[in-house]
């Protein structure tokens, strides 16, 4: 498991990351959300042992990033937000280089390369030059590079930036597959819908502070003190709003102007059933009743102010 403990990074008078803590289990896909300059990349670079923390630490399956960085490096695959690909090398040579520096035994190297190429759907490009690949393919090659040594933790910094919708969908599927394989995956992004689909845990960061962290549903629920319903009526919305306001557990009921009433409700599902029954019994022409769910974007906008370091 990965345990991040009070990780902090200062650059002179500037605090880039301020005491971040969270923990992840194998199979977790963690979405790291924040504006540009919020501290996502700094945190990821600290976990990947590329940047020394000012204080705090992180442990990956018992190996400390400060005391034992080499051991940690053997267990991680880091994909930065730029490709850093070598010119004039073929796809297999590129992977062979990384397999060699990750000390994959030479007898197994070609088999491993074939496997990761198959996983990332690049087998047909094995003998192509790296610079001849499309952006999406280069991104997949970078991911293949991260996988040659079968890491336990994958750190993907803005993996989908600059990709077309199809390449993005393929990448999402690939990351989800890696999660199913039991790897811990940390994905940073500021494109929220992309993360909400496949991350089971998210962390929202702003100005180096982790504002919220946990399963997506839990974060949304924690942020919403009331449930929001919308009652759709054929007519009489004003009268219905007044009627609903007088009901128990209703904090606010307002007509929306589109033949609906918006209700802020604190009651249980049983109370909710009573409310619907009373509305129908009182003769209001009710044609729909649905709960409005807040999404990750709502949570993000509610939590953050847009300030950056």
């Amino acid at each position: 498991m990965l345990e991040v403990k009070n990780l902090r990074k200062e650059y002179g008078a500037l605090t880039a990351v301020e005491g971040i803590s969270f923990s992840l289990q194998p199979g977790d896909i963690f979405g790291f959300i924040g504006s540009n300059g919020a501290g996502k990349t700094t945190t990821i670079r600290m976990i990947s042992t590329l940047l020394e923390p000012t204080s705090g630490t992180a442990e990956l399956f018992g190996a400390d990033i400060i005391k034992n960085p080499m051991e940690v490096r053997r267990m991680i695959g880091y994909m930065p937000d730029f490709f850093g690909l070598y010119d004039d090398v073929k796809v297999w040579e590129y992977l062979d280089f990384f397999a060699c520096i990750y000390q994959v035994p030479s007898r197994q190297r070609m088999e491993v390369i074939d496997n990761v190429l198959e996983l990332t759907d690049l087998t047909v490009k094995k003998d192509s030059f790296v610079q001849s690949l499309s952006r999406g393919m280069q991104q997949r090659l970078c991911l293949a590079r991260c996988l040659v040594h079968d890491p336990k933790l994958l750190l993907l910094d803005e993996p989908a930036s600059g990709l077309d919708p199809r390449a993005r969908a393929e990448l999402k599927e690939l990351i989800a597959e890696l999660g199913r394989m039991g790897k811990i995956v940390i994905v940073s992004s500021h494109i929220l819908p992309e993360l909400a689909d496949f991350c089971n845990t998210v962390g929202i960061i702003e100005k180096g502070e982790l504002l919220a962290c946990g399963p997506v549903k839990q974060i949304v629920a924690d942020l919403q003190s009331t449930r929001v319903f919308e009652a759709q009526l054929l007519s009489d919305t004003d009268r219905a709003a007044a009627f609903i306001s007088a009901m128990p557990h209703v904090q606010l009921a307002q007509p929306t102007g589109e033949g609906a009433v918006r209700i802020d409700y604190t009651g249980s599902p049983e109370d909710q059933a009573v409310l619907i029954a009373e509305l129908v019994k009182s003769g209001f022409p009710l044609i729909g009743f649905r709960e409005e769910h807040a999404d990750l974007e709502d949570v993000f906008l509610k939590l953050t102010t847009g300030a950056v370091n």
Partner: protein
């Protein structure tokens, strides 16, 4: 224990014989037909030159002696050309290859893997030198022709090739250490060529000096035909003359090839550790390694220079030089050593600090002895004071052991204190100039300019004010900060101490002012940030 040894062996095998960095670079270098065409042209040129030389030396009008001389000249010319190749090609290739990685942003990919600085940099050295070695090997048949035809012996040829290889690695590693801070490939190439030229000039001067000064720790002057100072062998342009020479060491003939290989290994190691400390994440250990190397090398160089230099000082002294310690001897040794420390103190701008941007050199504290080896500004002053003491101790030990001097006197120790105070002064000035500057480079530039102004600017003014030839006190020269270094013929006693004390107090005062200004600036910046937030 067995595991540790096998791990160490495995790591070294991977580094030197199965290095992924060198394999990848070599694949790229050999890709396509460019290399084949280049090597063919190169070989063709060498063969043509050899044929023309052989035809000339074999012409009917020449005697056998003239023909031999002509072949010997061709051999020397060929080795000179190989010396040029070794001076230019590997340093440029190594430097540009590392900077290309920096520009490509591929450092993060490599260093997020379990790769050590040694593995990576040795790989870069091997890949750049393997290419050069191919050029040397291609020239071997032509050089071998000189053996067959009578210009040189096999031992000369093989010794020269070995020496060229060692020097190539040495120049490459120096270029790598010096160019690692570059941001552009063109900048790195220019810097690498500059370093190579500087190295060759320095070696040329050292080789020339080696002819005139005694060498070896026995102080011999070189009577044997093949006896030569090992320093001369560091020049790639002299390998043809010096490959099979030796240094006499207590009656033993030590082959200079061995000494040069040892020296090259030590210097290359230092330069690679320096380069590693610049590019590696978590580089505190490497920074400490660099500093420990510097201390050890400083002691070694100081001891060697003292061993060969004290005799010169003593023979030129007007005082009795019978081996009995006299004040003037230690005074002169001290002045020469303090002058060396002063030359080093021009580096004091590296103690500058910056408030902006990422600064690897944190913390900025004033004097923390425990930071002496981690490369932070807080440890600069203690490290340089330690370096000064080490150099003085190295010189003293060597002068006593091999120079025949007795224990150092008060002149020597007071000059050591003065040298330490020079550092405090330089450091204080750096702190003060840092408080006026927004960036680190600006602070360093300002600090260097300030040191130069204080040293160079007063010279013409004092020269005009002082009476020519006057040696009495007081004199306008008494106001000059390097005054104790000019008291060559005097028994200086406590005078350097007084100068040192004044310099030290002044340095501490300006450092205090600078530190207060820096603290205020940091506070203001923090407040501005919180207001903006």
């Amino acid at each position: 224990m067995t595991t540790t040894v096998s791990e160490w062996l495995g790591e070294n095998f991977r580094t030197y014989f199965s290095n992924a960095t060198s394999t990848r670079d070599f694949r790229v270098q050999m890709r396509g037909s460019k290399s084949v065409v280049f090597f063919t042209l190169y070989l063709g040129l060498l063969i043509t030159l050899a044929y023309i030389t052989y035809s000339n030396s074999n012409s009917g009008s020449k005697s056998i002696i003239e023909a031999q001389q002509s072949l010997k000249q061709f051999y020397d010319l060929l080795l000179g050309a190989l010396g040029f190749i070794v001076s230019v090609v590997p340093p440029v290739m190594a430097a540009s290859s590392v900077i290309a990685e920096k520009q490509r942003h591929s450092f993060d990919l490599v260093f997020s893997a379990p790769v050590t600085a040694k593995y990576y940099l040795v790989g870069k050295l091997i890949s750049s030198f393997r290419y050069t070695w191919m050029l040397l090997v291609l020239a071997l048949p032509v050089t071998a022709a000189c053996v067959v035809l009578g210009g040189a012996s096999w031992a000369d040829v093989l010794g020269s090739y070995f020496l060229l290889s060692v020097i190539g690695v040495l120049i490459s590693s120096i270029a790598l250490g010096a160019t690692i801070v570059s941001t552009k490939a063109s900048q790195a190439v220019v810097l690498a060529i500059g370093v190579s030229i500087g190295y060759n000039i320095l070696c040329g001067v050292a080789a020339a000096a080696a002819v005139f000064i005694p060498h070896g720790l026995s102080g011999a002057t070189g009577t044997g035909t093949n006896e030569m100072s090992a320093i001369a062998l560091l020049s790639p342009f002299l390998v043809g003359h010096s490959a099979m020479t030796y240094t006499e060491w207590y009656g033993m003939h030590v082959p200079n090839l061995l000494i040069v290989t040892g020296l090259a290994a030590l210097i290359s190691r230092l330069m690679l550790v320096c380069a590693g400390a610049q590019i590696m994440p978590y580089s505190k250990k490497l920074a400490a390694n660099v500093r420990i190397h510097c201390l050890l090398y400083a002691v070694g160089i100081a001891a060697y220079v003292a061993a060969v230099g004290v005799n010169s000082i003593r023979t030129s002294s007007t005082l009795p030089g019978s081996g009995i310690a006299v004040g003037s001897d230690w005074n002169k040794v001290g002045i020469v050593t303090a002058s060396f420390i002063f030359a080093l103190s021009l580096l004091s701008p590296i103690s500058c600090v910056s408030l902006l941007g990422e600064n690897r050199l944190r913390p900025n504290g004033s004097f923390q002895f425990r930071r002496a080896f981690d490369g932070t500004p807080a440890g600069h002053l203690p490290f340089f004071l330690l370096l000064t003491v080490c150099v003085f101790l190295g010189v003293a030990g060597s002068a006593m052991r091999w120079g025949g001097l007795h224990s150092p006197d008060s002149n020597y120790w007071s000059l050591m204190v003065y040298a330490c105070c020079l550092w405090v002064f330089g450091w204080g000035l750096s702190r003060w100039t840092s408080s006026f500057s927004r960036t680190l480079q600006q602070a360093q530039g300002l600090s260097f300019a300030a040191v130069l102004c204080l040293v160079a600017l007063p010279l013409p003014i004092i020269t005009m004010m002082a009476e020519p030839g006057a040696t009495t006190h007081p004199s306008p020269w008494d106001l000059y900060i390097l005054r104790p270094l000019g008291l060559y013929e005097e028994n200086v006693g406590a005078l350097p101490l007084a100068y040192g004390l004044v310099l030290c107090l002044f340095g501490l005062f300006v450092a205090g002012v600078g530190n207060r200004r820096l603290a205020r600036a940091a506070e203001t910046m923090k407040e501005a940030r919180s207001r903006a937030a």
